[in-house]
């Protein structure tokens, strides 16, 4: 099977999963006794007309199955309805997705760049002092509750004044030129990214170390040594290539973990990402927004997994599915 058919197959496979996700989330939310339009009705800024339009759009006067059908139809045509503050759900979600993607990509980039070399060194110098210190540090990194760490970082930002507190842009963002705009956003992303990187770094490093240790034990590595190759050549040319492959599969999981883990960090730093949006939506029982962001979250997670699988297929010729 060539790469393109494989990609197509993976995409087709994910459709039934997304369908089940939509069923699950729709009925879970409908099971709760919350009136989906209760908040809208309370908001005096929203006209009676809009509410009636929403009632009709959601089919609230019809049975649940029909409501679900209508919802799917609307969703597929891009009509996700209105939030309780009368903005379009699709508009609100779009900007948040980009912010969350930005944060996730920064975190993935830095955690890989730091974790892989550290994991490799820890495996090469197995049981040395360096290895032991890294093991302790990574245990600590994995055990800190992300929100607690975020709060401590916020304290740090407040005390030193080196980093901005919350948000994604400074007040005078619109007056900046492009270069300063990018710098400003990066400056705001720095602390949330630091918190999330520390946490995902630890598990990634351990995985890399464990993989390389496994491979260093394999027969072909012993054979390479027996041939008289130098240690560096054996590790770089023979062991590393195989040790990295399982890590690529982790990329998908990591992305999933990031989406979840970022929610709390985003909340603490008031970072305008998808996680914070979904939290606000859940707290205000904003049904349209909740449904849409659940679907988008699932969609992002599945895409992350597919991308990881494709990368794995490209790098490892042994993968045949």
């Amino acid at each position: 099977m060539n790469t393109w058919t494989y990609i197509l197959k993976r995409i087709l496979e994910s459709i039934p999963i997304l369908f089940i996700v939509s069923l699950l989330s729709f009925f879970l939310i409908r099971l709760s006794p919350v009136d989906p339009l209760a908040q809208m009705k309370l908001n005096p800024a929203i006209s009676e007309e809009t509410i009636q339009k929403e009632t009709k759009r959601l089919g609230l006067d019809k049975p649940v199955i029909v409501q679900y059908g209508l919802w799917v139809k609307n969703f597929l045509s891009g009509n996700m309805g209105y939030c309780i503050d009368n903005t379009k759900v699709s508009v609100k979600i779009k900007s948040r997705i980009l912010n969350t993607l930005l944060l996730s990509l920064v975190v993935i980039f830095f955690s890989w760049i730091i974790a892989l070399p550290l994991g490799i060194l820890a495996a090469i110098f197995y049981n040395s002092l360096f290895d032991k210190i890294l093991t302790v540090l990574s245990s600590v990194g994995m055990a800190i509750p992300s929100f607690f760490f975020a709060v401590l970082m916020l304290l740090f930002a407040q005390k030193t004044g080196y980093f901005p507190i919350g948000g994604l842009t400074s007040i005078n963002f619109n007056e900046m030129d492009l270069f300063h705009k990018i710098a400003d956003v990066m400056w705001h992303v720095a602390l949330p990214a630091f918190v999330l990187t520390t946490i995902s770094l630890s598990s990634l490093m351990r995985q890399m170390r464990a993989n390389l240790l496994d491979i260093l034990d394999a027969d072909y590595v012993k054979f390479a040594y027996a041939k008289g190759l130098s240690k560096s050549k054996v590790i770089i040319k023979h062991a590393l290539r195989n040790a990295i492959n399982p890590i690529i599969t982790l990329l998908g999981f990591e992305f999933a973990g990031l989406l979840s883990g970022a929610a709390l960090t985003e909340y603490v730093f008031q970072y305008p990402g998808l996680g914070k949006l979904i939290l606000e939506a859940a707290m205000q029982s904003d049904v349209n927004l909740v449904m849409a962001s659940l679907m988008i979250g699932a969609f992002m997670l599945i895409s992350g997994n597919i991308i990881a699988d494709i990368v794995l297929k490209l790098t490892d010729p042994r993968v045949r599915i």
């Binding site: 999963i17 989330s25 879970l28 006794p33 509750p145 929610a263 709390l264 029982s285 979250g297 699932a298």
Partner: protein, 355 residues
């Protein structure tokens, strides 16, 4: 491998064994939460909100070691700075004693007693770790909070693991169409970012529930998110086990499907399940505390480490009242110990991992 073997191997490695002991101590303490606490869980001294920790003195003015004593704090309002200040009232000493009498409680809900580790005179306001905004004693609430934070994970596991194991077992054993459909459903549950689902389910819980109802529902929600991952792994293991000869032998004897799955296949996966349990407790603890931190989990006046940390959302609190952060360190210690212990148990039960 039996448990005494496991324990023996665990004992040989100092760090994981320390983690094991730390966990034992933590669970011992929360089992006797009332004994260690100074005040009942809902006790609140509203006139002494945000009181700093009481100092304990062992040396008196004549430089002699005496029985520990403390002073009360007086709250004053500074009219120039417009702040509330606490000053020690040095006029009256209060002696503190060990194993004395305090409020009455029921040990394990049965034995009525009023003996506490630390006891103090009635009019003495002893707040070892200060108070929060409602004048709750942070020190006492650490024990009650721990009781919820450290047990909710295990309770959720008690629900999610049997479901995950049986679901994965059935799916793997039946194979074919059933397997496909069941695995798609499990994958769908896994495809929703876990914490999003958690937030939403908890956010849509109707308000006005009693605290025990809420506790139960939060546990169920945590379990609902955890079962799918386990089901997938168990299914994979069952696929390889079900073709072994002994299963064929049992089939020829005429055992039913459900019996084969629960009695003969799933026990083979037990060492994996033990490892998965110890490694997943921390994630449940973190999930509960995160949820409560957001205000969606355990609600006041009940204590949990997560909702105690809600106070840390206020800047003024983390800067001027650092004692409110103590639950965060306890979560850290508990999670760290579980991780270290879990890693060791995995090494012991899975010889492939040992280097």
């Amino acid at each position: 491998m039996n448990f005494s073997d496991l324990f023996y191997k665990l004992k040989k490695d100092k760090i994981p064994f320390t983690a094991f002991i730390v966990l034992l101590i933590l669970y011992f303490i929360i089992a006797f939460a009332d004994f260690f606490a100074v005040y009942p869980e809902n006790y609140s001294m509203r006139s002494l909100a945000y009181q700093p920790p009481s100092n304990i003195y062992l040396i008196n003015k004549e430089n002699k070691i005496v029985r520990p004593y403390t002073y009360n704090f007086i709250r004053t309002f500074n009219k120039e700075k417009l702040t509330i200040e606490y000053k020690q009232d040095r006029t009256k000493k209060y002696k503190i004693s060990l194993f004395g009498k305090g409020y009455e409680y029921k040990l394990f809900g049965i034995i009525k007693t009023n003996i506490h580790l630390i006891s103090k005179p009635d009019e003495c306001n002893l707040f070892l770790l200060g108070t929060d905004i409602n004048g709750h004693d942070v020190y006492s609430r650490l024990f009650f909070g721990g009781r919820i934070s450290l047990t909710i994970g295990f309770l959720a596991l008690l629900i999610s693991f049997p479901i995950g194991a049986i679901y994965g077992g059935i799916s793997g054993y039946l194979g074919g169409k059933w397997d496909k459909v069941m695995m798609r459903i499990a994958e769908a549950v896994m495809s929703i970012p876990g914490f999003y689902l958690l937030i939403i389910l908890a956010g849509f819980l109707p308000s006005g529930m009693t605290s025990s109802e809420r506790f139960t529902l939060i546990t169920v929600i945590l379990a609902f998110i955890g079962w799918a991952g386990l089901a997938r792994v168990i299914r994979g293991m069952v696929l390889s086990i079900k073709n072994q000869d002994y299963i064929k032998a049992i089939k020829t004897i005429g055992a039913g499907k459900f019996r084969i799955i629960t009695r003969h296949i799933l026990p083979q996966t037990s060492s994996y399940i033990i490892v998965a349990i110890t490694l997943s407790v921390p994630s449940y603890i973190l999930a509960e505390s995160g949820l409560s931190f957001l205000g969606l989990g355990i609600q006041l006046p009940d204590a949990s480490w997560g909702n105690m940390l809600r106070e840390a959302q206020e800047f003024a609190n983390i800067i001027y009242r650092p004692w409110l952060l103590t639950p965060g360190f306890l979560i850290f210690i508990a999670v760290l110990s579980f991780n270290v212990l879990g890693d060791k148990i995995r090494d012991i039960l899975d010889p492939k991992m040992i280097k």
